[in-house]
Amino acid sequence: MKKMVNLMKNILLWTVCLIMITPVLCLFSGAFMDQLELTELLGPVLNHTEGLAAWHFLPQFPTLQNLVELLLDSLEFYQTFWNSLKITLFTLVGQLIFAMPAAWGLAVYEFPGRKQLYFLYVILMMLPFQVTMLSEYLALDRLQLLDSHWAIIMPGVFSTFSVFLMYRFFWGVPKEVIEAARIDGAGEFIIFFHIGIPLGKAGIISAMVLQFLESFHQMERPLVFLKNKELWPLSMYLPEIDISQAGFAFCASLFALLPAVLVFLFGQEYLEQGIACTVQKE
């Protein structure tokens, strides 16, 4: 009986796994197919010819054509990729500078309004962008930041989501350690730098990983705040690739996928750790 259950469990879990990775496999295989094969397979979808679409997970006539076109021919891809990276990098750095201390402050110090502030931050981070869209637009306009990358970076830097994540971790730092440091005469700032950050590393990194994903993939802000096509991030460029250029689209998507995957690889263990430590404190 137990074995049956186990077997069922396994089948289910592996099926889920399959469902998860199939799209990526599609992207992978599609990126190396040439236009002819793609038209044959996807004709029904693209051109509404009769019949149903099909797929070969191994391309029948593998080609590097799409790869070449992407790496050598498409300026916009590079430009938008670089834009995305730039925006994301700046946002992350900004968050380290602002959000990290804020999370520490909330977690470690008691001051009036602490509860309310935290509560406010939580609600703010849950509001979908559209709610404050207009007012944000007006604010950015007054600051003359519109139509520049700063219009995306600044609001991103002050997104309270990271504060939320990092807070939960800093909260887990043992008070005794801090007290001990204080007794030894360390200033608050030093405590933050030398104790808080190292101990909170996992939480910080997990927040950064999530923020990376969020920043790299965001669409709503660029859509409204950026007019100049040259400033567009990758997430805006990809939808523009017409499906009739399916091979190229797949290849581009694959490359767009890469940074996120790498970041995940790098940060996965921290992600797990990060939350674990918080919980362990219970």
């Binding site: 430009q79 007006l138 790098f266």
Partner: protein, 813 residues
Amino acid sequence: MRKKLKKFLAVLVTASLCTGLAGCGGNAVSQPEGGQPEDKPKDEAKTEDAKGRFLESQVNLPSELAEIMSMGKLEDGSIMIAGFDPTGNYCKAVSSDMGENWQVDMLPDFSEAVSEMEILKDGTILAVVGYADNSELKVISKDGQVKSTSFRLPKGAGEQGGSVTTYEDTDDITIETEGEKDNTVNEQENVPEETDTLNEQQGTSEAENKDASEQEKIDIDNMIVQADIDGEGNLIIQDLYAKLCRIDTQTGELTELYNGEEDGLDFFGIAGERIYACTENGMKILSAKDGSQMPEDAVLNEVCQTAKGDLSGAMGAYPVVMAEGMEENSLVYGNHQGVFYHKENGSVSEQVINGELTSLGDTSMGLKQLLMWDEITYMLLACDSVGNSKLFKYVYDENASAVPEEQINIYTLKDSTILRKAVANFQSTHPDVYVKIEIGISENSGVTAEDAIKSLNTNILAGKGPDILILDGMPVNSYLEKGILADMSGILKQVEDSDGIFENIKQVYEKDGKVYALPSRFLLSVIEGSDDTVAAGESLTKLAEYAATIKQEGKALFYSRRLILETFYQADSGTWMQEDGRLDEGKIKTFLQAVKALYDLDGDVPDKMEQITVSLSLNPTDTEGFGSAGIAVIGRMMKQNEIAIGTLGDLYNLRDLLSIEAEIGGSYQMMGETFLPYMSAGIVKESEKKTSVQEFMLAFYGKELAKSVSGGYPINRSAYEELWKKEIDEPTDSSLAMSNEEGVIISYDMIPLTEEHKDKFTKEIESLKLAGIEDTTISDLVIEEGEKYLKDSQSLDEAVQNILQKVNLYLSE
């Protein structure tokens, strides 16, 4: 260990990917972003003093001169102009008081036409007579003595291949190259309406044929494309083969200065001893003595680049005109952005005259010649879109404010020559007002209409909106609902009292006696064909039925799904709105059914065709006032289609239509009692009290503007009447011919328009009661779903349901 390795690898790969891509990305970023010269030339005067500006005025021209070919400053300080009179005789005129009074003298009669005229400092006129290879250079001295020299243009047969054919006997010159004369040439016929009228008068690529017997065909190898004089009075010319040559006026000796084989040559200008040649690779500076090249000038290169986008050039007019500056080694040049002063090899140009504040900003104006008269005066010779010569004088007034204090902001989604003309006209009568045009979607910017409207809306809400809105393509209804627009009925009443407007059109926009938005022009949707066709055109269903019956005989040719949907949308949508503000389901269903039935008659339109024609209809310049009925009717004549449906954009369209009917029979009728609004405008509520805004709108709907631009019929009745009068009294006599796919030539004569035509047409307009739905959100939704239905990706019911659902959702928001 393994974890560490994994991490390390991840970091390494990420880093290398980033640097690699960043490297390439870096290059992409550092590439020049197609800089606009508007950024470069800083108007230093503006920032330093708030006062001082060149004011524009028009110089009165002697009525004897119908067209001016050249102007020049004489040593004694008077101005001389030369051209020809209404009968084609050449004459000159001199004025010593800057145009108050002119002394007109006839020039000796030459047997052939003069292609170029230049005026020298001492009053001598150089005239190039004849177009042929062996042209003659006549040097006409101030007192009328003529000396002739002949010269030969360089042989050019090598480059272009084939020969150039011209036809004598007409004032119009036709250039055809051997090769195909197929339909594609003719599709261009109606496209740029405004330059077309200019071309019709001066004649370019329309294939105008008369009977071969009436003409002599002269094959010539080369001709002069542009001519100018250098500082020493020598003639510098550009030929057909991108060569620049100097012709010695005494001996007729020709020296080649530049060969454009590699870099091409669009046009050139001369300042003193330097020739500025605008080529494909930037502005080349050459010595007028020997053609030696001088170092390039970055600023001028950019000027050359922008000039490439300028379409206003026609015979004798150029995107940029140049002249010598007062100081040594300086150059003044003028384009539609203004007049600029540039020190050779300087890093910037100083904008001396702002195009936006003057007629220079009128993109339909052709610039012919610029002169820096003295430190405070410039003279500009130009011609408008119908070929009338204009002479502008710019004088520096140190007390006028550098930028007029009062400013009007006008917002338009797409650029429009009509708007630019309206602004230029207004500026010339109101030099104390600065009218700024903001364009929502400029070429190549990739901004969608939706984004543009979003930004506009935000600005309006923030209180930073424009004063006047050009409403074409905008959600007019929502603006009305939100009370953004002001009531214009006061202004309109003034127009009504002085000129009259088409009441029936105004009524469509009147709500409780108030009018918040009104088109200044309109187009008509017509169906044309045999009597049976026209009878069937009464309703879409009848048309679909009728089309089914004639399916055997021929086919209705519609270029693309999008076009057919748009065409019928324009014709039918006026009837779709119900009282409760929702769409009428039955009407939508009928609409789709009828369109599909008609579409299916064609059989499968290959998708490639779809691509071409979709881009045609989306191109802004192409569709400005585009009268597509013209093409459709021509198609009928060429037996490509039985039914012709399209829009009528102006009187020439109508004339085409009637002329073809005279040839092959048939009649036409308006569809759906609908007119298509064009160039609609509204005043933003906050600005309604501004007098300048009111005056602008008065002029916008006024007679002067209405009759001087083309594209749509004016709502201003006086202008409408005058346009008819002009056509009836002075018809352009010509005939057109084209060959179909089999090479068979079909021709027809343009019949003159009569009072009867006018009465009938006017009555038809007056009977129109509905406006096509302007709201682009609705039209986009309908057309999108419609396309799917036509492509058979969804059924009729699905399409109807989708349309209803989406549009009603939109309306309920």
